[in-house]
């Protein structure tokens, strides 16, 4: 039976304090959301007093539920539309950009790299205001609306796949490519047949992460929105939360959460399938999936 001093000095004792902090943090982080999801099943109109369980706000209520309220429908569709279109364009653009910058030497790519890093950390509102100015003062064929929102989102998100792919390229190293070229492949062939398959995990990770990030984007889509049909769910939540929200809003946010979760789960399963023989990502699990490693 060791005394407390020995217990304190033991370097291999379980870190109860850190465990406590971690558990506390997780609860603080996820509990409010759990409560919001819970209240989306409230049978009454309140978002703070539990009045019984019902699916009223999902499809029950004839006027206000998500299923019956056209405005909420449109918002959901707009969110998904933005997510899919943006991801489809951003990921190839970012991946090619990263590969090109990584292999190209010189000042121009260094400058481009710097530009990409800046766009990664810049507050979103700066980009949103700048693009708003461009669209409202220059006679482009683009109006405020979905196209403008997509352009803004791509610009904001393109650095995400670029950074992930560059990190992965750094881990892979040049030896596979050089071996291929020694064996007679052209650079393009080596790229296509060796590097791209090895980058698949990073590409998939960035696809899923960009999608999840876009469907919950707020600042850009709000500034660049046209009429109400182009307002996605995040803007609807913001507009209504300051006015007279009903639990239908909780329901909408829960549905969005499910969409994001589904996307991520699918992405993760595909990732596991693709990397089942890959030793560089063997023990990393979800960490590698998130691009950290």
């Amino acid at each position: 039976m060791r005394g407390p001093v020995a217990w304190w000095n033991d370097p291999w004792r379980p870190p109860r304090f850190l465990v406590g902090i971690t558990v506390g943090y997780l609860m603080w982080s996820l509990l409010p959301v759990a409560i919001a999801v819970l209240y989306s099943f409230n049978s009454g109109r309140s978002r703070t007093t539990w009045q019984g369980f019902s699916f009223r706000w999902y499809w029950g209520d004839k006027a206000l539920s998500v299923w019956h309220n056209d405005a909420l429908h449109t918002a959901l569709l707009q969110t998904l539309k933005l997510g899919v279109v943006t991801t489809l364009i951003t990921v190839p653009l970012g991946v090619l950009f990263a590969i090109g910058i990584d292999r190209w030497r010189g000042r121009l790519p260094a400058g481009a790299n710097f530009l990409m890093l800046i766009s990664f950390v810049l507050p979103e509102v700066l980009l949103a205001v700048a693009l708003l100015f461009v669209i409202t003062t220059i006679a482009l064929p683009i109006e405020l609306g979905t196209v403008a929102q997509v352009i803004g989102l791509i610009t904001f998100q393109v650095s995400y796949p670029a950074v992930l792919v560059r990190a992965r390229l750094a881990t892979i190293g040049p030896q596979y490519e050089e071996a291929a070229m020694d064996l007679g492949a052209s650079p393009l062939g080596a790229l296509r047949r060796i590097i791209l398959p090895m980058l698949m995990p990073a590409i998939f990770a960035s696809t899923v992460l960009v999608f999840a990030d876009v469907i919950d984007d707020f600042v850009l889509v709000r500034y660049l929105s046209g009429d109400a049909a182009t307002e996605p769910v995040s803007v609807k939540i913001y507009n209504t939360a300051r006015g007279a929200p009903t639990p239908a809003l909780n329901a909408l946010a829960t549905l969005l959460l499910l969409a994001a979760l589904t996307a991520v789960v699918i992405g993760f399963l595909v990732y596991r399938y693709l990397t089942r023989g890959d030793t560089t990502t063997a023990d990393r699990g979800i960490g590698a999936f998130a691009g950290e490693g």
Partner: protein, 409 residues
């Protein structure tokens, strides 16, 4: 690490940049959307003692008579949130087999910016403080009266209002007063009986419970009225300075929220007392949680009518794609039954001949404790109207408001 740029290279590049910038500038000038607005830098400002009949330019004539409504269209309405009855919308949709899409804005400035950027709304809920800018900016389509026979149901003064003689561009939508609303369980004092009820916003006992309207003209005008200054469109520098100081004092005393959603926050218990429009307090009844009755709500407006009185209007926009439907919708909202239903949905009173203060009391449409929120026609004779300000004065007022909203100085 890339090799450092030599000075010669740097200078060469800087020279190239300097040379291309003006060319780029000229190129962009050609693509630019906004030309500086031509002619006079001053606009015609309407006032009750200076009524204005707007000109109708030749390239902006009203639509022809007897056209059929557009089929299968989407009518786009631009309005405040919670300011149009869903039932009225549905009835119109069913009648003409079309869809209606409502977009919302938070304040007039934001709305006008959006309108000028070219979004193609059909109907806009305007305030007459914007009419000069709307007409001069070519944003409005003049009305063809043959589509709107229901105008006969509206108070006669609105067929020839000072801000739009001959109702060429507008139809009235709602009328309202600006006063103070409170709930007796949080604010037991009888605010209406006080010598100067506006003082409550400077009274520290209401700290954390108060709110003022997020509308620069209305809130700043309230400060003027509190001091007994009745020119609520003043351009006097000393008055504006006083307003700024008083707003700071108000923040120190009661730290009020600045919002237009008091109609939800007051019944929810977030607020105890708020500067509100008369329609807000009537609307607040439907936002009370279950178990709380409407008898705790109160509203005060000067009994002699010497307070702020206003009306909102509907206009149709030049860029809208469904002009016939827009006219028909305006007509729809002027129908007495629709207007009454809209009243019960949004709380704001329409200027219908069939809705008089007596009839509202008799039908018990408005509970006893909120009778003060009924808008009487006499108010329009004695009340003070917020008017459109000329650009310089508008800028001065906005500067004071901006200081207040930045929480500074």
């Amino acid at each position: 690490m890339p090799e450092p740029t030599s000075r010669r290279q740097f200078l060469a590049r800087a020279a190239i940049l300097a040379a291309t910038a003006p060319t780029l500038g000229a190129f962009l000038q050609a693509c630019s959307k906004n030309a500086p607005s031509s002619s006079q830098p001053s606009m015609t400002l309407a006032a009750p003692d200076n009524p204005v009949k707007w000109p109708i330019p030749d390239d902006n004539k009203p639509i022809a008579d007897g056209l059929a409504p557009e089929k299968g269209a989407t009518l786009k309405i631009y309005n405040y949130a919670d300011y149009l009855s869903p039932q009225a919308i549905k009835a119109f949709e069913d009648q003409y087999q079309i869809k209606i899409e409502v977009s919302t804005f938070n304040d007039g400035d934001e709305a006008i910016t959006k309108l000028r950027s070219g979004v193609d709304y059909d109907i806009y809920n305007a305030n007459y403080t914007e009419i000069s800018r709307l007409v001069n900016g070519g944003l409005l389509r003049p009305l063809n009266h043959s589509y709107i026979p229901n105008i006969k149901n509206v108070w006669p003064s609105f067929t020839n209002p000072f801000y739009d003689q001959g109702w060429q561009y507008t139809v009235p939508y709602t009328i309202y007063t600006t006063g103070i609303g409170w709930r007796t369980d949080q604010v037991p004092a009888d605010v209406g009986a006080m010598k100067n009820p506006y003082d409550v916003f400077w009274d520290p006992q209401y700290k954390g419970k108060a709110a003022v309207l997020d509308d620069w003209h209305t809130t700043m005008a309230m400060v003027l009225l509190r001091q007994g200054i009745t020119d609520i469109n003043t351009s006097s520098d000393s008055n504006l300075k006083m307003i700024g100081e008083q707003l700071q004092a108000m923040v120190k005393a009661t730290s009020p929220k600045v919002t237009i959603t008091a109609y939800n926050d007051l019944p929810a218990g977030q607020l105890g007392i708020a500067q509100m429009w008369s329609g807000d307090i009537i609307n607040a009844q439907s936002y009370l949680p279950e178990g709380t009755g409407p008898e705790i709500l109160r509203y005060w407006f000067p009994a002699d009518g010497k307070g702020m009185v206003d009306n909102d209007m509907l206009v149709t926009l030049k860029g809208g794609k469904n002009p016939v439907l827009a006219h028909l919708f305006m007509n729809h909202m002027l129908d007495p039954e629709v207007a009454k239903e809209n009243f019960s949905a949004i709380g704001y009173q329409p200027p219908q001949n069939s809705i008089t203060p007596d009839s509202l009391v008799k039908e018990e449409f408005i509970p006893e404790n909120l009778r003060t929120a009924i808008v009487k026609p006499e108010y329009f004779d004695t009340g003070y109207r917020l008017l459109e300000l000329d650009p310089a004065n508008d800028a001065a007022w906005h500067t004071v408001w901006q200081t207040f909203k930045a929480g500074g100085s």
